[in-house]
């Protein structure tokens, strides 16, 4: 086993969040930054996302996933970040000792600061409990995207998609363009899970029906999928009698949600949010463990990669500061999500800096406002012409507003 390595900042995960955090950590003065990636290339999921639309917020132009990734790959290389590829972190301790396994052997890194940027995984058939037989032909959308765009493989001819998450919608279009027949998309919720633009561009433009409040109640076929039975569900997700419909297909594609890959965080015993399933962080994206930070989809599942990048850049800078100076702003003000919001992030702030809060609403709303309140007074009100659970809300609150905080408590809620 090799000697112990030392790093100012170690970044676990080389996807969009890891790349941005690594580049900015180095830019902010961390001398040695090591980014550890399990795959043979950096970029994570961007490598398989050949459609465009990435970078409209950060670069004001629509790039493909690989193009977007390449910009950050160049940046980390130019700035001198060390990238360890085909390297898997098998253990992380509270004193920031990282065990890495790779073709070189077992190595350990002692880091001044650690950024968790492991992204997320797709929810599976087993997790949602789709009943029926267990044939070939049931795939998650992300896996199919890899097969089609990286390995050049076609998974089937006639496809039903369960779940209207963005990857599923994008794959509906992609598979149609490649010559497959997408029979329909079923979504168990009464509203789509993907963003509105993707419903239009990926389904409506190709006349693919979207059935809301509908799910797969049976998978058929012993060897390969031969069909699925769909049924409508009531408000409590129970199957509605008499609504079963059978659809012939050879493939069932699942786009039913993403789960943060928090196994390393769980092993540390970090304070976690039961809503986001990510770590609870302060304004520096600092977790409950000293020197351990979290950003990107392992913290909260983002709708657009640009926002994961922006979040990760701030995290990288904060991690560098922690590693080089040893301290971060103290955060005494608690931020809580109130009516209409599933969560708001960060959970604590100092009041000394402007903050970009991120949050998601419980349901679709029109012409309402998100308000930041303290002691019954409104600190900031933001008019929201349209809100949907599929879209993350970002609201900047200037530091001047925090002067009026009472009892170190801020409540954020949706108001008529």
């Amino acid at each position: 086993m090799g000697d112990r390595e030392f790093a100012d900042v170690a970044i676990i995960g080389g996807g969009p969040a890891g790349l941005a955090a690594a580049a900015e950590a180095k830019g902010a003065g961390a001398e040695r930054v090591i980014m550890i990636e399990r795959d043979e290339r950096v970029g994570g999921i961007l490598n398989q996302q050949v459609h465009d639309g990435f970078g409209t917020k950060v670069f004001k132009e629509a790039l493909t996933g690989p193009e977007y990734s390449a910009i950050y790959e160049d940046r980390v290389n130019e700035r001198g970040v060390e990238t360890w590829l085909k390297s898997t972190v098998t253990e992380l301790t509270n004193d920031r000792v990282i065990t890495v396994r790779s073709e070189r052997g077992i190595e350990t890194i002692e880091a001044g600061a650690v950024v968790l940027a492991m992204g997320c995984r797709e929810r599976t058939r087993g997790a949602i409990g789709t009943p029926g037989t267990r044939p070939a032909g049931v795939y998650t959308a992300g896996a199919v995207q890899y097969y089609m765009n990286v390995s050049n493989l076609a998974v089937g001819r006639k496809v039903v998609i369960l779940g209207s998450g963005d990857i599923g919608l994008i794959m509906a279009r992609r598979m149609t363009l490649e010559g497959a027949e997408v029979v329909c998309v079923a979504e168990i919720l009464p509203q789509p899970s993907g963003i509105a633009g993707n419903i239009v561009r990926c389904l409506e433009d190709f006349d693919i029906p979207l059935y809301l409040s509908t799910t797969v109640v049976e998978i058929h076929g012993n060897e390969r999928v031969t069909g699925v039975t769909l049924a409508e569900v009531g408000p409590k997700m129970g199957e509605k009698k008499g609504t079963r419909r059978y659809f012939d297909c050879d493939t069932l594609l699942l786009s039913v949600g993403l789960i943060p890959e928090t196994e390393l965080a769980n092993a540390l015993g970090l304070a976690m949010s039961p809503v986001t399933n990510g770590a609870i962080v302060d304004e520096s994206f600092h977790t409950s463990a000293p020197g351990i930070f979290s950003c990107g989809n392992v913290l909260q599942v983002h709708d657009v990669v640009d926002y994961a990048t922006l979040e990760a850049e701030k995290t990288g800078i904060a991690a560098a500061k922690y590693a080089m100076i040893g301290e971060l702003p103290e955060t005494n003000i608690n931020v809580t999500a109130g009516a209409g919001l599933r969560y708001v992030l960060p959970a604590t702030i100092s009041g000394g800096d402007a903050i970009d809060f991120t949050m998601r609403p419980w349901k679709e709303e029109h012409d309402k406002s998100v308000v930041f309140k303290s002691g019954g007074e409104v600190l900031r009100r933001m008019k929201m012409p349209h809100m949907e659970p599929a879209g993350m809300i970002r609201i900047r609150v200037g530091k001047g507003r925090f002067k009026h905080v009472v009892n170190n408590e801020i409540l954020v809620e949706v108001e008529e």
């Binding site: 409990g129 998650t140 097969y147 076609a154 060897e223």
Partner: protein, 497 residues
């Protein structure tokens, strides 16, 4: 072409493969005929993995005899074959006070059959042993153990193959003619001649029996659904947790079983069906399993479930008759030369090594043979590294850098283990063959990350996309490349015009 074997074993489940291994100690020509694309694909691969003590079987039964003997030799068996085995113990829990007398009855019965160290424990002692389990009291069965059922089945098969037994996969037996000393077994892959036949066809043993003129048995398939829980909650129990067996039921009741890999199984349910292949899972049973197991384990939540599967019991008695049907381990007068192993349901895994001893003795009486110098007493098909010390792993990586590449993050399976699984002794080629040898794709992401990488590896090894299957037969994974799909789409559109 017809090959001549001393013994043809029909069915590559744990019983058939245990018989193959015992026979491979001798210089006999043995073939195993398996209809699926790999061994362990029926009842043997999908059960609780429990090495039973015998407490649940009637005194004086065939089941009892083989259960007790099997349990005696099981640990050594697993050690020789490098199969995970753990003597984790079992508690049979009375949920309410009124079930306590049932525990006394069970204890007495268990002791009479020779189960050692049984003790009745009260609520407080149960809480000490199993803090997360609710119950009024329990029997503690410290000698009960678990093993990895499919790893055992595969190791039995592979060690037998390495010792000289021939395996014919994807080879269902469609007819049998001839008589003792000169049987002819028809298969789609050609006829096979054998002097003796072992009928270890599990769910289809009644059909094989009929092919040699024995009509007295009928198998009543009884499906058992399971849920698998994530390893993150694997620590919720320390030992197996069983209910007091339901009276007249088809099974032992829904139990909570740790696996040797650190997951927890909930199940199995018991639903009779007409089709031994009908291994579907249902929403109803999922709810029922969570509710029933939840009575013992209040901390259980639906989000802990990573997947569901069904096994199938080859029961010899219909639902109307009730729970118990004894094992058949005998040669019957109307078909001499055929060893009938019929109705081998629970505790068949535990009993398999013991049944194999008797079947081998039976075969040797008819065909005396010398010891096989090529017999592989010990065997390890895939060296797992998940639980190795870091120093050991580091050395292994020095020998072969593929040990340094973790392909399946959830189950910590390296590229080397996947390559070893691909190059398996039986030449089983499906994705499931790799899964059951390496555990890749069995974790919480169910292959979301490693599945595509394993496919890439298979393609690099020269496989064509069309040839890849999930589990053999018609379970194709890819219709071809994206170019093939585009070409097909074009042709369809042209045809439509």
């Amino acid at each position: 072409m017809s090959e001549n074997f001393d013994v043809a074993i029909v069915g590559g489940g744990v019983v058939g493969c245990a018989v193959a291994r015992e026979l491979s100690r001798y210089q006999l020509k043995v073939v195993v005929l398996e209809r699926a694309s790999d061994v362990a694909r029926g009842t043997s691969g999908k059960n609780s993995g429990v090495v039973h003590t015998g407490i649940n079987v009637p005194v004086g039964s065939v089941k009892g005899k083989y259960n007790v003997r099997g349990a005696e030799i099981f640990e050594q068996y697993c050690e020789d074959l490098n199969v995970p085995f753990e003597r984790c113990g079992k508690v049979i829990v009375a949920l309410t006070e009124d079930q306590i007398p049932d525990l006394e009855v069970l204890k007495e019965k268990g002791e009479s059959i020779g189960v050692k160290q049984l003790e009745i424990i009260d609520h407080d002692r149960l809480k000490e042993m199993e803090p997360n389990i609710e119950g009024a009291g329990a029997i503690n069965v410290p000698t009960a153990a678990i093993a990895c059922p499919y790893t055992l089945n595969i190791a039995l098969a592979e060690s037998s193959a390495a010792s000289g037994v021939e395996f014919m996969l994807d080879t269902p037996v469609t007819g049998i003619s001839g008589e003792q000393g000169d049987f002819e077994l028809e298969t789609p892959n050609g006829n096979v001649s054998a002097s003796l036949i072992v009928n270890s066809a599990g769910l289809f043993a009644d059909k094989i029996a009929r092919m040699v003129g024995v009509t007295r048995w009928r198998i009543w398939p009884c499906r058992g659904e399971y849920l698998i829980l994530d390893k993150s909650v694997g620590g919720m129990i320390n030992s197996m947790v069983y209910p007091v067996p339901p009276k007249g039921g088809a099974g032992l009741g829904i139990h909570i079983t740790p696996t040797t890999d650190g997951n927890i199984l909930l199940g199995p349910s018991a639903d009779y069906t007409n089709d031994g292949d009908d291994v579907r899972t249902t929403a109803k049973i999922r709810r029922q399993l969570l509710a029933e197991a939840g009575e013992f384990l209040p901390g259980l939540a639906p989000r802990h479930v990573i997947t569901a599967y069904s096994g199938m019991r080859p029961k010899l008695v219909p639902v109307s008759v009730g729970g118990f049907g004894d094992f058949v381990v005998e040669e019957v007068p109307e078909a001499l030369g055929v060893m009938q192993l019929v109705g081998i349901e629970s505790p068949g895994l535990t009993a398999a090594p013991a049944i194999a001893e008797d079947v081998t003795a039976w075969a040797l009486e008819r065909i005396p043979a010398e010891k096989n110098p090529g017999f592989k007493k010990t065997w390890s098909s895939v060296r797992r590294t998940r639980e190795e010390e870091l120093e050991v792993i580091d050395d292994l990586i020095g020998e072969d850098s593929d040990y340094g590449e973790i392909m399946c993050r959830c189950e910590m399976v390296t590229k080397k283990e996947i390559v070893d699984s691909i190059n398996n002794e039986l030449d089983a080629t499906s994705l499931n063959a790799i899964k059951y040898r390496s555990r890749a794709t069995m974790g919480r992401c169910q292959g979301g990350f490693c599945g595509p990488r394993i496919v890439d590896l298979l393609l690099e090894n020269g496989k064509s996309p069309e040839s890849l299957t999930l589990k053999g037969g018609g379970s194709w994974l890819f219709m071809g490349t994206t170019e093939d799909l585009r070409a097909e789409g074009k042709a369809l559109r042209a045809g439509a015009k």
